[in-house]
């Protein structure tokens, strides 16, 4: 069984540019989560999808961040326009319905210069 995958693994962009991160969850997992870790800080929750619906987006920092999960499969997280403080590692995790464990992807390291 393939694990959670994320693309790209690294992204370096300039302030003001747009970046789109992608997450492919484990097949059949309805729950998909995005988290972010800014350097030296804790991993922070961003949002939670159940299938294609946003269940909880309380952790999204501001309206420069847009997450989608069309069709309830993969998800994208777009940052537009990017700011310096958006730099960090963005993790995606998925969980099967009824399960308790979140399976994490390798993360995307975003650097905004």
């Amino acid at each position: 069984e393939a694990g959670v995958t994320q693309f790209p693994s690294h992204s370096v962009i300039e302030k003001g540019q747009t970046v789109t991160l992608r997450c492919d969850p484990i097949s059949g997992h309805d729950n998909l989560y995005w988290y972010r870790r800014v350097m030296g800080k804790e991993i922070k929750f961003l949002l939670h999808f159940v299938k294609e619906s946003k269940q909880d987006e309380s952790g999204m920092p501001n309206n420069r961040f847009l997450a989608e999960r069309t069709g309830g499969t993969y998800s994208t997280l777009k940052v537009q326009p990017a700011e310096l403080e958006d730099s960090g590692v963005y993790f995606c995790a998925s969980r099967g319905d009824g399960g308790y464990e979140q399976y994490f992807g390798p993360g995307t390291r975003l650097t905004v210069t």
Binding site: G3, Y35, E42, K44, D56, F91, A93, Y100, Q102, P106
Partner: protein, 114 residues
């Protein structure tokens, strides 16, 4: 607000030393507790969890953790560490009615010297 505090940012031990990583949480209701580990170059993976029952839980690779409700703590222990335990360790909590989102501590980087 919910929060998780890990006591140490970086711990350095020699092989065979005993390990205890502290974790305290702040949450008003029933919680589920987790320890995750991230080995160098690898994904975060679940080490162990506590939902209910016996407060002493055992996980993979010889790790265990004890839930002490009165102290809001969930400390991670291992009697004898190995070089391969070098990794970053994260304590996390999830409220029972929180839809599954995890609240993480800051992480503790463990370096084990051979």
């Amino acid at each position: 607000a919910q929060s998780v505090s890990q006591h140490n940012h970086h711990v350095i031990l020699s092989e065979a030393a005993s390990l205890e990583l502290g974790c305290n949480y702040s949450y008003g209701g029933t919680v589920n507790l987790f320890w995750y580990v991230q080995y160098p170059g690898q994904h975060l993976q679940l080490l162990l969890k506590y939902f209910s029952g016996d407060p002493l839980v055992k996980g993979i690779k010889g790790f265990e953790a004890e839930f002490i409700k009165s102290k809001f703590s969930f400390n991670l222990r291992k009697p004898s560490v190995q070089w391969s335990d070098t990794a970053e360790y994260f304590c996390a909590v999830r409220g029972n009615n929180q839809g599954g989102k995890l609240i993480f501590g800051q992480g503790t980087e463990l370096s084990v010297k051979p």
